[in-house]
């Protein structure tokens, strides 16, 4: 059971094997296998039936079934994705919003993390809880709270009108601005906390040394703090960027229905058009887009684990 006891290559007891096997099998059955099914169905024909696709192969037919299956694979769904401008626009829109909001998150999140790390030691746990606390409440509620504020006769417009900043109440809902606000609001701690974690561990004497050697504060920040915070910035960026690309709820509730993000397109194909093969193809292409950042993220996590804390 314990690493100290079990040398590499030694036989493990049954109990130890079970510890690995149980979660392993669970994840294989409910995480890995489903993706293979998505891949399979993305290569099927759409059918008007329940479930709405023509199965590519019939497991009961044995080996001949497999051969038949391979010859029946169809790339028509992928061809559709390539030919219809709607899908391409949707992918581009998602990447654009994800990149833009990740940049915004970085610009807003870094000063907050910096403020947290430079706050007096005894205040840090309190500030930490304060930053995390809102994010234990349902994110649906948090998005809903913004609808309250951003709607046409909502509080933001009431405020703007009262201060005579605008004469006509501008529309906030159903715009990209609202989507950006919603995303930044929802993902902020995922940016702040990893950056805070690296800044907090930073050796303060380095800054003192820089100051002693006559380096001005801003330059020390640029030359010492910023490079040292890179692991946190990387982690925060990936932790935000990857899920934002596939975000559904925020653009659905706050955004416009003109250009949909890819998560919305997938949702619409699945729930409204009942076209499961096309929805699967959308998912596969989305996964291909994200596979590089996901692998980078995993490598960082594994390295963290190997390096301890």
């Amino acid at each position: 059971m314990h690493g100290a006891m079990t040398k590499r290559g030694e036989h493990r007891s049954w109990g130890e094997r079970l510890i690995v096997l149980v979660p392993y099998l669970w994840l294989t059955a409910f995480f890995l296998l489903p993706f293979l099914i998505v891949l399979k169905i993305s290569l099927s024909h759409t059918a008007i039936a329940q479930p709405p696709y023509a199965p590519v192969f019939d497991p009961a037919a044995g080996w001949s079934g497999v051969v038949e299956a391979v010859s029946a694979l169809s790339f028509e769904n992928y061809a559709l994705l390539g030919s219809d401008w709607l899908y391409l626009a949707s992918y581009l829109k998602s990447l654009e919003i994800a990149a833009g909001s990740t940049l915004l998150l970085l610009l807003i999140g870094f000063p907050i993390a910096y403020g947290m790390a430079r706050a007096p030691r005894r205040w840090q746990p309190v500030i930490f809880v304060l930053v995390v606390l809102p994010f234990w409440t349902s994110f649906l509620i948090r998005i809903y709270a913004w609808i309250n504020i951003l709607q046409r006769d909502g509080l933001l417009n009431q405020l703007l009108l009262a201060l005579r900043i605008v004469d006509e109440p501008p529309a906030w809902l159903s715009t990209d601005t609202a989507v950006y606000i919603g995303i930044v609001y929802t993902y902020l701690p995922f940016m702040v906390l990893p950056i805070y974690a690296t800044l907090e561990k930073m050796d303060q004497t380095l800054l003192e040394a820089a100051a002693d050697l006559g380096c001005p504060n801003w330059k020390a920040f640029w030359l010492v703090t910023l490079p040292l915070s890179r692991p946190g910035v990387m982690a925060g960026t990936l932790l935000c960027f990857i899920p934002i690309v596939g975000e559904f709820v925020i653009p659905d509730l706050l955004g416009s229905s003109q250009t949909m993000m890819i998560g919305q397109t997938l949702w619409a194909e699945f729930f409204a058009n009942k076209d499961w093969p096309v929805a699967s193809a959308v998912a596969v292409v989305l996964l291909c887009l994200l596979v590089v950042p996901i692998v980078v993220y995993e490598q960082m996590q594994t390295r963290d684990l190997a390096g301890g804390r």
Binding site: I37, G115, L133, F139, N148, E298
Partner: protein
């Protein structure tokens, strides 16, 4: 040395205001007496009273609660086993795939995971509903539990375990009497994180649900799409209150912030 500059205090204060203002406004408006959500009609408990008579909403709350309790508990067991395997077992066959399957769900867009799980459930032809949502949630949130427990396992002193075993304590007993109490706080916060994640989830539940299993987020979502309603303000305020009380209690009981230091560990997903 650590003097708080105006810039630091300012960015923190602005950040916190940004985080809390929308929630505070929502709670205040849940006490609004007017049916028009944008007009203030004086303080009132009217919408809370109406909620009590909303049987469909209560039904959903009950389903959601049962799913969250079950899947958080299952996820804590599975996630802890996975954490032990990752931290203590060094290299084992298939480790790369294993850690890949642990970390990928943390960032994987929910629409993909939801769709994939639904297609699995359709392929094996099970009735969709309560149990399929529970399995889907367990799968996703066990990975978050693993991250929390793992950071605890990494940071603690193994010499206690070694001492127990040197004194002839068998491995299983060592685990139950030494290791488990030591990682108990991490298990507790892992469970809580899992529970909140399950309560919260809209996307995966929407894909894997079936007749008779409308969870609270699914119901709230379908109402919210039609616009802001005072009843929804009220139910959101209740949920916020429950979570706030739970978190404050938990952070007083355990050193909750220590667990979160590792990075995202103290956080539910979006």
């Amino acid at each position: 040395m650590r003097r708080a500059s105006w810039f630091n205090v300012g960015s923190l204060a602005l950040g916190l205001a940004f985080l809390y203002l929308p929630i505070v406004i929502l709670v205040i408006y849940s006490f609004n007496g007017s049916r028009l959500v944008t007009v203030w009609g004086g303080w009132s408990m009217r919408w809370y009273a109406e909620l009590i008579n909303d049987r469909a909403m209560l039904e959903s709350a009950w389903v959601t609660l049962r799913i969250a309790l079950l899947s958080a508990s299952a996820a804590t067991v599975l996630g802890t086993l996975a954490a032990i395997a990752l931290v203590r077992f060094g290299r084992f066959r298939g480790r790369v795939l294993f850690s890949g399957m642990i970390y990928a769900p943390l960032v994987m867009p929910e629409v993909i995971t939801g769709l994939a799980l639904l297609l699995l459930f359709v392929a094996i032809d099970v009735d969709r509903g309560f149990w399929t949502i529970t399995i889907a949630h367990t799968t996703l949130i066990m990975c978050f539990v693993t991250v929390v427990v793992q950071s605890r396992l990494l940071s603690f002193d193994t010499s206690l375990e070694e001492a127990a075993m040197d004194l002839g304590c068998p491995p299983l007993k060592t685990f139950l009497t030494v290791t488990l109490p030591l990682i108990a706080p991490a298990l507790a916060s892992g469970w809580m994180l899992a529970f909140t994640l399950s309560l919260d989830d809209l996307v995966i539940a929407s894909f894997t649900t079936g007749p008779g299993a409308t969870t609270l987020p699914i119901r709230i979502y379908s109402e919210v799409r039609l616009g802001v309603k005072p009843e929804i303000n009220a139910i959101c305020a209740i949920l916020i209150a429950i979570v706030a009380v739970g978190i404050v209690a938990a952070s007083l009981l355990t050193k909750f912030h220590d667990v979160g230091r590792g990075g995202i560990a103290g956080l539910p997903a979006h």
